[in-house]
């Protein structure tokens, strides 16, 4: 019944890829991760969720006779003939510690922790290399203008792969900086939920305790009845 069992034998075209300069022939259409495994690599570094969410597999690649440096995630990028690639699993970066309770959601709090943000030269390299297609430089410029909310929203899809920070001539650590900016936005610049406060008060007062106790003791037959009687919003 499962997919694997019904796979037909297909004729697959092979392509050449160069893993850190060494040539391997692999089937066309595989992701970089799967191609490396096909070649015999047991991945330990540079691999995580394998679905584009964790940022563990930042990869840079080039093609013969092409001066451009391309970037992508090894789990989401398909191999192409003549691809020279290396996975960069780690970016040395500072991560200043802070107590979020003691910070203010303003530019001066941010610049104290990440002073290099002011060195942005607007080269836009960060934006060009982002595998998530985030407007990275725009987010940096928003921070410089003190627009924390917009920067938090614009950087939201960041998976912290670190490629932007590797390429940045101003040596900005974008992903750690954006993390701070998002937390400041979430904590200080977004109104708090009132329903939640009310509900917590009710829970503290024990409003649901009796009913929950009854439910716990009820057993499957009664649960079934209640489940069948549910009114769906």
């Amino acid at each position: 019944m499962t997919a694997q069992k019904t796979v037909k034998k297909l004729k697959v075209k092979m392509v050449s890829i160069y893993i850190m300069g060494k040539e391997y022939k692999v089937p066309e259409g595989l992701t970089i991760h799967k191609a490396m495994e096909y070649a015999g690599y047991k991945l330990v570094r540079g691999v995580g969720c394998r679905a584009g969410f964790c940022g563990a597999c930042a990869t840079v690649y080039r093609f013969k006779d092409d001066y451009r440096l391309y970037t992508g995630l090894a789990c989401q990028t398909t191999v192409k003939d003549g691809m020279y690639l290396v996975i960069l699993p780690f970016v040395p970066a500072k991560k200043p510690g802070y107590d979020i309770e003691k910070l203010k959601a303003d530019f001066s709090s941010i610049v104290k922790l990440f002073p290099e943000v002011t060195r942005c030269v607007q080269c836009n390299t960060c934006t060009k290399v982002c595998p998530q297609e985030i407007q990275v430089m725009d987010a940096i410029q928003m921070i410089l203008r003190g627009d924390i909310k917009s920067a938090a929203e614009l950087s939201f899809d960041c998976i912290a792969c670190g490629i932007c920070s590797l390429r940045c001539p101003a040596e900005i650590i974008h992903y750690n900086l954006f993390q701070l900016v998002r937390r400041l936005n979430g904590k200080y610049l977004t109104p708090k939920s009132q329903h939640l406060v009310q509900r917590l008060k009710e829970i503290e007062e024990g409003k649901f305790d009796k009913e929950l106790e009854k439910l716990v003791k009820m057993g499957p037959e009664k649960w079934k009845e209640l489940y069948a009687q549910r009114v769906i919003e």
Binding site: M1, T2, A3, Q4, T6, K8, L10, G29, T31, Y38, A39, G40, L43, V44, R45, G48, C49, A51, G52, F53, C54, A56, Q76, K95, G97, Y98, D99, I100, A152, F156, D157, I159, Q179, L180, R182, R183, L184, G186, K187, T190, P191, S193, Q194, H195, L196, R199, L200, I203, F208, L212, L215, V216, K217, W223, K224, L226, Y227, R230, V231, E233
Partner: protein, 555 residues
């Protein structure tokens, strides 16, 4: 014209999906009755295939049926020879050891610290990087009954009905009652949940919910929670040791769990950790590929915690049930098995067959929808078949843009949009092809309300705590969407608080791995051949040819 991301043989069917869309917008498919549900599951859900399971030959769950792949790792020999390990030479001596660097591990670490254990006396040991875990991949949301028309008791009934009444009710009570507290904690930490301009959470339905209580952060909910918890762990300077999975628990001569042996994946050396309390937060088993299903899970999801726990006597529960997420990607080939969040259905997308017709109410619980998709593909032959033989059905995502307005997908399903766009499929205009995929370990180590791991007699194993996906009982035989992000936080928090409490008064005696030797003897007595070793740490995906030529010459 046409659909550049899809092969031409799909186009006719896509046109049918488009042609029926307007009519279907007004059409509500009838909900399944309890009798129909039972019949459907029995015939089509993979859990009901007897050849997929076998009875365990030994250990606390001897005689219980579990998936063959789980039996394979439980009935396996240790990776280490206990006689090779020098337990006198301790590398890390801590109050609380947390094994696993996902969401429940991070939550446990923070609440250990909040409970008065100093950061330097806490150690998180993790297989890959800190945060490389299923938590980061959870897209859809987190449940909490915080709106006036909702309540923890209503949430309770949803959870227990979804779990087929097999849940441990005391754990469900904690889950639903402490949910609002967790959302408040996150709000204070600065998690960016989706809110309206007044600060009200934007809450929608998930499969099996009777109230709208799904809180989300776009479709990166797990990523957002994980990275905030990680940031806080790092700010508090709690120690984390990466690429060093635990391979065996250590006990002391009085019979309590007292730490673990870690293995450095890069230098191949072991580390001895002595701890007054040990918390297992190792997650689930997606990478065991139960019944050869593809999985949504991260690369390290190999159920190491079950293996280590079982050898010190933890009892497992509900291991006979496996969660297949109804909607894994079925095309393109590069992303087969990856998650298509339930939020797509939560926002109104219907599931339709090759003719563009509905066949199930889209927000039934996960096991029901998964079984219905399998029936539609294999029983009624109404699925699409791709060139690799993969079958699938349409998830009609463009409906979302019609119902909620243009731009909704890019705003609330950014990850999904991006993932398909990489392969030239625009999900705002074209449907997605889906098929069930292995998603979640419903069962696991049995725990009590204090997250203490229990033995076969229901007694706590001193010094050992467990929380998150590695545990069983909270979700019974089927977890609802949005309750795992909740689980890891609620029980991660409890794990941290209770481990801290225990560590403050515990005294650890002489360390021993005698239980591992005892286990080896039992394996031999049960006639198990010494060919399988566990925990397996990472799945084996190397190419057949490359693997067949691989030799270890120890240079």
């Amino acid at each position: 014209m046409g659909y550049p991301g899809y092969p031409e043989e799909f186009w006719d069917s896509i046109e049918k999906v488009e042609a029926t869309r307007e009519r279907r917008l007004k059409e509500v498919f009838k909900r399944i009755t309890p009798e129909e549900k039972e019949k459907l599951l029995e015939k089509w859900h993979p859990d009901y295939r007897p050849e997929g399971k076998r009875a365990l030959k030994l250990g606390p769950n001897k005689g219980d049926y579990v998936p063959n792949e789980v039996a394979d790792i439980l009935e396996a020999y240790p990776l280490i020879d206990p006689n090779d390990i020098d337990l006198e030479d301790i590398d890390y001596d801590v109050d609380v050891l947390i094994i696993g660097g996902g969401g429940s591990g991070a939550a446990a670490a923070l609440w250990t610290n909040y409970s008065g254990i100093k950061a330097e006396n806490i150690l998180i040991a993790t297989k890959l990087r800190f945060g490389d875990a299923n938590t980061k991949m959870a897209q859809g949301g987190i449940q909490a009954a915080d709106r006036p028309q909702d309540s923890p008791p209503i949430h309770f009934i949803d959870v227990i009905g979804g779990g087929h009444y097999a849940n441990k009710p005391e754990l469900v009570r904690i889950l639903v009652k402490e949910a609002p507290l967790i959302i408040k904690w996150h709000e204070e930490l600065g998690v960016m949940y989706d809110k309206d301009e007044h600060g009200n959470f934007i809450e929608i339905h998930g499969g099996g919910t009777s109230r709208k209580r799904m809180h989300a952060a776009k479709d990166y909910t797990g990523l957002e929670i994980m990275r905030v918890l990680m940031d806080e762990v790092l700010n508090r300077e709690i120690r984390v040791i990466e690429f060093s999975p635990a391979v065996e628990l250590i006990m002391d001569t009085s019979g309590q769990v007292a730490g673990a042996v870690l293995y450095n994946l890069e230098t191949n050396q072991y580390y001895v950790v002595r701890a007054k309390a040990t918390v297992l937060t190792t997650g689930g088993f997606g990478r065991l590929h139960i019944q050869e299903f593809p999985t949504t899970n991260h690369y390290g999801a190999t159920a190491d915690g079950l293996v280590m726990g079982y050898r010190v006597g933890t009892h497992l529960r509900d291991m006979d049930s496996v969660q297949y997420h109804p909607t894994g990607a079925a095309f393109p080939e590069q992303i087969v098995g990856q998650l298509v969040t339930e939020k797509v259905r939560g926002l109104g997308a219907q599931l339709v067959n090759i003719d563009g017709e509905q066949f199930i109410y889209p927000l039934e619980p996960r096991d029901v929808v998964a079984a219905a998709i399998i029936r539609e593909c294999y029983g009624r032959n109404k699925g699409i078949v791709t060139v690799t033989g993969q079958r699938g059905l349409w998830l009609d995502s463009p409906m979302i843009e019609i119902i909620h307005g243009e731009g909704t997908i890019k705003r609330y399903l950014a990850a999904m949009y991006r993932q398909f766009k990489r392969f030239d499929i625009d999900i705002t205009k074209e449907p997605m092809l889906v098929f069930p995929t292995l998603h979640y370990m419903n069962g696991g180590i049995e725990i009590n309300e204090y997250t203490q791991a229990l033995n076969a007699d229901g007694e706590p194993i001193p010094g050992l705590f467990a929380c998150g996906e590695v545990t069983g009982g909270v979700h019974g035989k089927n977890r609802l969407m949005g309750n795992s992000l909740l689980d890891i936080n609620v029980f991660g928090r409890r794990g941290g608080i209770n481990a801290a409490k225990h560590a403050k008064k515990a005294k650890v005696g002489k360390l021993t791995l005698k239980h591992v030797n005892v286990w080896i003897t039992k394996l031999k007595e049960s006639g198990i051949e010494p060919k399988r070793k566990a925990p397996i740490i990472l799945p084996e995906y190397r190419g057949k040819r490359a693997l067949s030529r691989s030799i270890n010459i120890g240079f």
